[in-house]
Structures are given as structure tokens and as C-alpha cells.
Symmetry: C2
Subunit: 596 residues, 2 copies
């Protein structure tokens, strides 16, 4: 790419009196998945990786990204006028350090206030203030240059009936208002698309694999306003929402609405989520109560209807995955297969299941060394051919009306080494040890994570990421606040509650050689309550064989083997009645009890 | 006890214009172990339990204590005029709630500002302020009534030579001053007796089993003042300290010293430790930098000299315990034994070891059901006779010039039940699983605790306390900040560092039946550093047989059995060369490898 875009941006900066311009990879809602419309950073720099931030001054232009993307960024930035700032490398300043150093005395920092959250915006305020400077945040300069910018999607909204969602909007609003009263606030501004979809029991198609709708929700004590493209909402949905006290207003009207909040009122919002433009419009006398959206925790604790549905979704999904495994292991080496072709085949099997909506994320179909890259996904340009040897890792899932799934299996396609077998066996051991642990109420993911890592750490191996994350119900497959992690980060301290669903996905990743991951979803449930307190346990709700061809039983204790055999017995009992006779014969073989 | 003391206190309160008087169980330094001199609460109420707080108003007098002491308190408070406020029971107000409710409008809260820490004192300020009232904290009213109050001990100070402590005072002060500079403070007031003893490499005998000296230490940028009873300090020690820039001043002079700190200066101190009287004397213009004493973390990370010494202390201690076990198991049922008599015998075996100073805490020698009470210690009035059946739990330790030990063994004296054997075996399994876990740098006790609890929790059993605590070097056996706990409390988040020593003491406590605990000390050490990061591991530094008579090998995996057999092999190799021939024969039998 040439540097014409950078030049155009600099000329706009000069016109607007801006000394330093900041362009993140984010939308107006801090959504995890950023659609093309919001990829201004990609447009300006030419760098197509998922994570990155661009900062431009009169003389310098930098692109910050992390280790996953260094090589790609170096390549793609050529000629663009942007230099790579390799995050975390010695001597490389952080974005904030760069801004503080490069902003001239009395200078102006510019950015589009809609795509920067309030917390970051305030940090930039402080950087400017330290130089006696100011911010200019009311214009998206990239938009001026970006003449062929893809439009923002506005897909039809569909309602999630109560048989799927289990709780109506009036009830959800009433629970949220109770939390507002506890916090002493009369208003709550919800900017996160997943929380809005959950509260209003609606879904859309604005983002691939994340069935949400671009919108804002402003909840008052006795009213609520949904700021959304009204053309996408049917009369039926409008009527249902009206009955719950929710009025529809145009998407952009939220900016005027917040500026008209009553003087002296208090509004609950998460400054890490709500964009800087919005909070900047709040009247002086309105105070912000900065806290997580109450809906986050409510959404994470699935209700009984959702739980019953999710169980069904996982059985359907398990049939697709088991069928895929049968096909894969039967045909490998006999018919041509690539990472993409098998991934497409798996999608077709899911699509045949009742209630299927779409795949819940881009399938990771990774052969041999490709699987060592945790976030690898094949493309037509980079699509390995599968051979009857080694491992194929497939991390995939489906959105169903009955919930979302996220499952990883690593399949043996042919001969594997003793080390591969050992690593696979220890990953399975960790996965099952966590799934079978009973624990006292009050535990967080910090307490339990080591159950997955114990055997690997004893060999000096780590998988360098969390062990698991919460899963949405026909929403984002990565959902907080629950998770299994050993490092204390935001959210890691969430107490596990009955009704939460969390993935259990240890792995081993040997760069340039192979990758192994086994991922099931665990439903947290109440176990006995006794003298010591309330115990909780997990129900393993993912049903698909774990490839016995890679298990070395001599590395498992009797207790480990029982856990594996019990799991496989449940997989067989659950799936077999819904499968064909030849599949059942195969399934029985691949769920057979192992002995030492 | 009659209510004459309460009446006398109320009359003093009236004279001094005090509406509500507060008496905690604490000394001027917030030391864990409170000596008789400071037991004003015990003097006033007649209640002799370790934990309790008294609050007196014109019409009411309450004693707050926790569940361990309800029965004892009910009994001992009879006639004293004090009522029991059973903490944690439904409908029972907390001390603060009681104070807020009972303080009259414009009323005065009184307490001895020396025995209340600054944080609590400030909370009481707020309670008084809410009522338009005030505090009066300059008089210890109990002292007026308590005519036969035991004097404060002033025992001779002894120096810990560098061959024992491994780092001189000048070096320690220099490290602390670096932390003071980081915090931007020119002064640091140390009130905790253990930190002072560590910094100055001195020990005393002011508190039984906690070899510290009542004193304060005020550290400046280029001077330090030790406020102490100077008569207890020899010329030699004084000279050593002077060389390190430490001057001696009278104990009480600290109060004037803080009032003379330079205007505008900043002082690092822990408001949860430093008493309210002291901080109240700071000049208005002096700011407090409220933080943990830097010495706490430095003290927890043992240096190489200390580590070498501690290893030796544990071998000596292990010989005493193994000898005790041999004697106990050989003679039970043949000679009379009580909880106290065997505890005295064990002390005599420790006393015969080189470098022995004193026992490191009151021995818990608890037979059968007594062992279910975690903090039980026998007294002449309550001293069970041992019979050749069931379990005897002995939790004991020694202070040596080479360090302090804390070890628990549960011994089989005769027939035990299958359930007892199961519980014992699972406690041992947990103990060894934790001790043998390798882990990445960054882990805290929160991450590792479940390794001890896993098998017990799976049976719905918990031991209702932390798994382990740090251990001082010839200091308090309970030392922070390291520990193994599953609940996130102050200190539980301490990252484990190489050089820290932490106990590993899971247990099972069945009320009215039996108690089991196995406690070893684990030294944290660096293991390999590789692509994944710095791994750490533990060295089990406690050497004494774990009673094989209570192990059911069928409940252990091959890996568990290997851990047990490896441990016992090390115990034999380490202790046998220093023991007598008949002891060696016995030791070999009780450290033999088990098979399934």
C-alpha cells in the first residue's frame, strides 16, 4: 500500500488543528468482534490483523500490535508510511508513552470519540492536560478519506421466544432496576450489544457469528428507550417491547437523549464500555456510577429454560461432531481433504441439525504445526492438505435457537509420536480432572485452573492462555465474567454460580510441530449442602468422543481412567439413540472403556 | 466474678465524660499473641478466651467473641455484668453497629489509643462524628482499676549473629530505604515487633514462644531510632547497632519523636498496625503513606544462610519427632500417658537438640475427639489419658538459633475405623500432591490450595481453614504474607517467591469423633526456566515419618504412592545417620515403601 491515505489524514489533521491522531480497532460499543465498517485502522495502515492501534503525528506514524502479528504487520505496512511498534519488545514505547512523548506543548490529540471508551478517553485527556493541550474528538477523520467505506449492517431483528430465553424483558428490567436502586442511580446506560440483546430477548445479524444488533439501551426507573435502526424491528417485536415499557427511538438519538438527562441525576454505566462521545454529552450535574452492567452477571447465570435448551443444543452439536469424526477417520487418506474442506463439511453437518442458526465463530481447522498457533484459521491461500498422519485440531461451534456451543477435538489421522500421545493423554487428564471436581461455593476460576495444568506444569509445559471462558446463549461464545484462569485478571475473580457455563480447554502447543486441545463445556450445578457449606459440581454438557487412538492408559490413574470411561459411556448413551446403525457401531468402538 | 470492676469502670467513665468505652484484646503493637499485661478485657469481664472485645455504656456492657468461645464466655461472664454478643449469630449486632446504635447524640467514645490501631480508631472517629460526638483516647481507664496488673516483661535482648541471620542491619536498612524512596517517603515507622526483630537482628523473650522485644523503630533517610527499654540491651548490641546507624532511645520516647517529625514530611506506616495514639501525634502537615511494612516481604523470603540453617533445624527437629513417635508407638498401653505428659516428653526431646531455644508455640496434643477442635491444647484440668486406640494429633514446633519449626503428625495408637483410615490417607495424598506440584512464577496460594483439598471436597468434606501459612525464622511461627488458602483474603494474593517457607497442613475434623492433620513445611525454590517462563517447586524440609499404620494404599494412585515412598526414603536417609541403631531399625520399618 502507498502512503496516500496517511498523507490525506495528515492534511485533514492540519485543517482541524490536530497534532496527534489516534485510531483504534473498535466499534462504538467496544464489541469484541469488529466488523469491516469499523476497520478504519486497517484502511489507513493496510495491516489486516485483528489487533492494532494507529497513531499519527506530523512526522511519525505508528502501528502498535502484539507478537501474534509482528511478521504480518512488517510485511503489510511496507510503503504505507506507518512503522511497526512491536508491543512488549524491549525499548518499544506503549501507545500512551508515545503520545505523551510526541504531543507538542499545547498540542491537540484527536480521535473519533465514538470508537474510544470513556476510560481510555480520560487517560488521553490527562496526557493532553500534562502538555497544556486539549482533545478534539467530534470528527472521524478516516471517514472523510474512506470514500468506499462498507456500510454498517442493519439486519432484521428476530425475537427469542420465552421457550428459548426463559425470562421476559419486564422481569429482566425489574431485576436490573433493583440493582440500579442498590447503586443509588435512577438511570442505566447500556452500550454493550450482548447485554442489550439479552435484556430485550432479541437477536440480529449485524456481526457474523455474534447475533446482536447495533443499538443502545437507556433504562430509567419507569421507562426504557432502545436506540436502534427502527426499520429492522417488526411490529410484533415493537408491540412486545412496548408492553415491557421499552420505546423505540432512532439509533443516533441516544446522543441527544443522554444530553437531556435530568440535572442532578446519577447514571450507572461502565466507562470501560460506553464511548467517550456519549459520556462527554452528559450534563455537568449528572454523576456517573461507574460499574459493570448488572446484566453481565445475570446473563452468565443461565435459567432453567436456557439450561434445558443448552443441553439439547449440545446433543445436536455432538451428533454433528461425532458424525464428522466418523467420516474423517474413515476417509482420511482415501479422499482428498484440506483444512477448509473438512471445516466446510463439519458446517454442513451442523446445518442439518434442528434449530441451527449459524456457526458460532470461524472454525479453527488446523493440521499439524498449524495447530500450534492458537488462533489459526485456514484461508483459501493458506489451507493445508490433510494426510493420514499426525493430529488435526478442530475448534468449532454452532449457534442454535437452543443455545451456542464451543467444542474442540484433536483427531488422530495416522501415526503419532510417543510424545504426542503423552501430551494428548495429559491434556485429557487435566480436562477431566477439572470437570469432575466438586468444590465449595465461593471458589473462582483462580482456584480451579490448576486442576487442568497440574500434570503439564510438572513436566515444565504450559499452554499460555486461560483454561476456559463463559459461553453466551445464542450470543458471543466468549462471555464473562466466569472463567478458569490462574492469573488474577479482571473477571478471573468471579465466584462460580450454579447456572454458569464455562469451557474447559487445556492444551499443548509445540511451535512448528503440533497443537492439542480438548474443549468441553461445563455447566455449574449445586451439589450437596452440608455442615461445611454448599458444594457445587459440573455437568459435562459436551458430547463427542475424545480420540482414544491418542490415549496412553499407562499415564492415567484408575481414577482418571474411570473419569474417561464414564464420560464416554455418557457420550454413547446420549448420542447413539439418535444416530444411524453404522455410526453406532463406530461410536461404540470410539467410546469403549479403556483399561491399563 | 462480680460486677465491681464494671461498676468501677462506669464511675471512671462518668468522671472522664465518656459515654461508651471500648476495650479490645490487643497490645500497643497489634501483636498476634497478647501477654497478660495487655489482657484488660479479660480483667474487666472475667472471660479468659483468646479473642474478645468489650464495650461498655451507662446501661449496657457487652463482650463480643466468636463461635469457638460461646460456651466458655457464657459461663465466665456470669455475675460480671457483661452480656455475651455471639458474633456471627443472627440478630447479633457487630461491635461497630452496637457502638453506632448506643452512642448518644453528641456522645464521647473512649478507649486507650495505644491498644487500638489507626484504622480502627478512624472508624470509631466516623461513628462519633455521625452523632456529632468525639473521641477520648488518652487514658487507659482499666489501668486505674487494675491495681495488681502484671508488669510488662523486659527480658534481655540477644543478637542473632550473621551466621544465623545471613544479612546485617545496614544492608536490611538500605533495602528498606530504597522502598521508602520508591514510595516517596523520608520516614518509616515500624511498630510490628517481628519486623523490628528481623531488621535489627535481635531477639528477646518478652512474649512466650515469640522471641521479640517490645519496641518501635523509626527509620529516616540517614538515621534510625530504636525505642526500647535500654536496660535490656547489652553494650555489644548497642555498639553493633550504632555502627549500622541505629540509635537507642527510651521506649516511650517514640510518642514525642513522631510529634517532632519535620513539617511537610511523609511517613510510611501501616495504619492497620500502628496505634491510634501514635498517628494522632503526627504533626498536621505530615502525610501518612499507608502501606504494608516493606520488611514483611523481605523477611518472608529467606536468604541462603537462613535456608541452610532452617534445613538443619528441621533435621534436628525431625529427630526429636521421630524419636517421640518411636517411643509413643512402642510404649502406648504399657505405661501411663496423657496428652500433657507426652507433650512434655516431646519438649524434652527437642530441648536435647543443638541450638534449641524454646518451643515455638503451645503444643497441641489432642487425643481422639479433642483433635477435632483445631485450637485445642490440654491443660492440667483438661488432660485426656491416652489409650491404645484411635488417633493422637500432635502439632508442635521448636525455636532454634537455626530457625523455627512447625510440624503436625497424627499417630495411630491402636485400632482405627475404615473411615479414619480413608480420611488419613486422603489428607496425606493432599499434603503430598501440593508438596510435589511444580508451578509457574506468578502463582499464589489461591491457585495451589485446591491440590490439598481436591479429594476431600469430592467426598463433600472440608477442613474449614487455610492450608498453610508462612513461618518465621526464630520469630512467630505464623508469618505473612505467603500462605495457601482458597478464599481471597488479605495476604492470600501473595505471589510465591523462591525462599519462602510455607506450611502444608490439610486435615479432617469430625466433631466429637476425631481429628487428623499432617503438616510439613515447604521451601519454595526455582525449578527450570524455559520457553513458558520460570517454574518453581517445593522442597519438603520437614523430616518425620507419616504413620503408615493409617494408610490405605488402595486409595492412592501409583503417582501418589511414589510421592509417599520418595518422601519416606528421604526421611530415612536424612535422619537415620543421626539416630541410634534400635531407632534406625524402627525408622526403616516406618519409612518402608508401600505397594498396592
Amino acid at each position: 500500500m502507498d502512503d496516500s491515505r496517511l498523507k490525506a489524514l495528515r492534511s485533514l489533521m492540519a485543517e482541524n488543528g490536530i497534532d496527534l491522531y489516534y485510531v483504534p480497532s473498535a466499534d462504538d460499543h467496544e464489541t469484541e468482534y469488529v466488523v469491516d465498517h469499523f476497520e478504519a485502522r486497517r484502511f489507513l495502515t493496510g495491516f489486516t490483523g485483528d489487533a492494532g492501534v494507529a497513531v499519527v503525528t506530523k512526522d511519525r506514524a505508528g502501528l502498535w500490535t502484539d507478537g501474534r502479528f509482528f511478521i504480518q504487520a512488517e510485511e503489510q505496512l511496507k510503503g504505507s508510511g506507518f512503522s511497526l511498534y512491536a508491543m512488549g519488545q524491549e525499548g518499544v514505547p506503549t501507545v500512551e508513552e508515545f503520545m505523551a512523548a510526541e504531543l507538542p506543548q499545547g498540542g491537540v490529540i484527536g480521535f473519533d470519540g465514538k470508537v474510544v471508551n470513556t476510560r481510555d478517553g480520560r487517560a488521553f485527556e490527562r496526557i493532553a492536560a500534562a502538555k497544556g493541550g486539549a482533545l478534539k474528538t467530534d470528527r472521524d477523520l478516516a471517514d472523510v478519506i474512506w470514500t468506499d467505506r462498507p456500510p454498517l449492517a442493519s439486519s432484521p431483528v428476530f425475537a427469542l421466544e420465552e421457550k428459548y430465553c426463559g425470562e421476559n424483558t419486564a422481569s429482566k428490567l425489574s431485576r436490573i432496576r433493583a440493582k440500579m436502586r442498590e447503586a443509588g442511580t435512577g438511570w442505566h446506560l447500556v452500550s454493550s450489544l450482548e447485554e442489550i440483546a439479552w435484556i430485550l430477548n432479541v437477536r440480529g445479524n449485524d456481526i457474523p457469528s455474534v447475533p446482536v444488533i447495533y443499538s443502545f439501551l437507556l433504562i430509567g426507573e419507569d421507562r426504557a428507550d432502545w436506540f436502534v435502526d427502527e426499520h429492522c424491528v417488526s411490529d410484533g417485536i415493537r408491540k412486545t417491547l412496548t408492553a415491557a415499557g421499552v420505546s423505540l427511538r432512532p439509533y443516533d438519538a441516544v446522543y441527544e437523549a443522554v444530553s437531556c438527562l435530568p440535572a442532578g441525576s446519577s447514571v450507572l454505566l461502565d466507562t470501560g464500555k460506553v464511548n467517550y462521545r456519549l459520556t462527554g454529552l452528559l450534563p455537568e450535574s449528572v454523576t456517573i456510577c461507574d460499574a459493570d452492567d448488572p446484566a453481565i452477571l445475570m446473563k452468565a447465570v443461565k435459567n432453567n429454560t436456557e439450561i434445558a435448551n443448552i443441553r439439547e443444543a449440545h446433543i445436536c452439536d455432538g451428533i454433528a461432531v461425532a458424525r464428522f469424526m466418523h467420516w474423517l477417520k474413515t476417509n482420511i487418506g482415501k479422499i482428498p481433504m484440506t483444512e477448509l474442506s473438512v471445516s466446510d463439511y463439519l458446517e454442513s453437518l451442523r446445518a442439518a441439525q434442528p434449530g441451527f442458526v449459524e456457526i458460532s465463530f470461524t472454525t479453527i481447522s488446523a493440521y499439524q504445526a498449524n495447530a500450534a498457533m492458537m488462533h489459526y484459521a485456514p484461508t483459501p491461500e493458506n489451507n493445508a492438505e490433510l494426510k493420514p498422519e499426525g493430529f488435526l485440531l478442530v475448534d468449532s461451534g454452532g449457534h442454535y435457537l437452543t443455545g451456542s456451543t464451543d467444542i474442540t477435538r484433536t483427531f488422530v489421522l495416522g501415526p503419532i509420536t510417543a510424545q504426542q500421545k503423552r501430551d494428548f493423554t495429559l491434556v485429557v487428564k487435566g480436562n477431566l480432572n477439572l470437570a469432575n471436581q466438586k468444590f465449595l461455593y465461593g471458589c473462582t476460576g483462580l482456584n480451579l485452573d490448576i486442576l487442568c495444568r497440574s500434570s503439564l506444569w510438572n513436566l515444565g509445559i504450559d499452554y499460555q492462555c486461560g483454561t476456559g471462558h463463559g459461553v453466551g446463549y445464542l450470543l458471543c461464545v466468549h462471555e464473562g465474567p466466569n472463567g478458569f484462569r490462574w492469573k488474577d485478571r479482571r473477571g478471573a475473580n468471579c465466584v462460580l454460580e450454579a447456572g454458569m457455563v464455562t469451557t474447559d480447554e487445556p492444551g499443548v502447543y509445540i511451535g512448528g510441530e503440533y497443537g492439542i486441545r480438548i474443549e468441553n463445556e461445563l455447566l455449574c450445578k449445586k451439589a450437596e449442602k452440608n455442615f461445611y457449606g454448599q458444594f457445587l459440581e459440573f455437568e459435562n454438557i459436551t458430547y463427542a468422543p475424545i480420540d482414544l487412538d491418542a490415549i496412553d492408559p499407562s499415564l492415567l490413574s484408575d481414577a482418571d481412567l474411570k473419569q474417561l470411561n464414564d464420560y464416554h459411556a455418557r457420550v454413547y448413551e446420549t448420542l447413539a439413540p439418535r444416530m444411524e446403525e453404522d455410526e453406532r457401531v463406530w461410536l461404540r468402538e470410539y467410546t469403549r472403556p479403556l483399561e491399563r
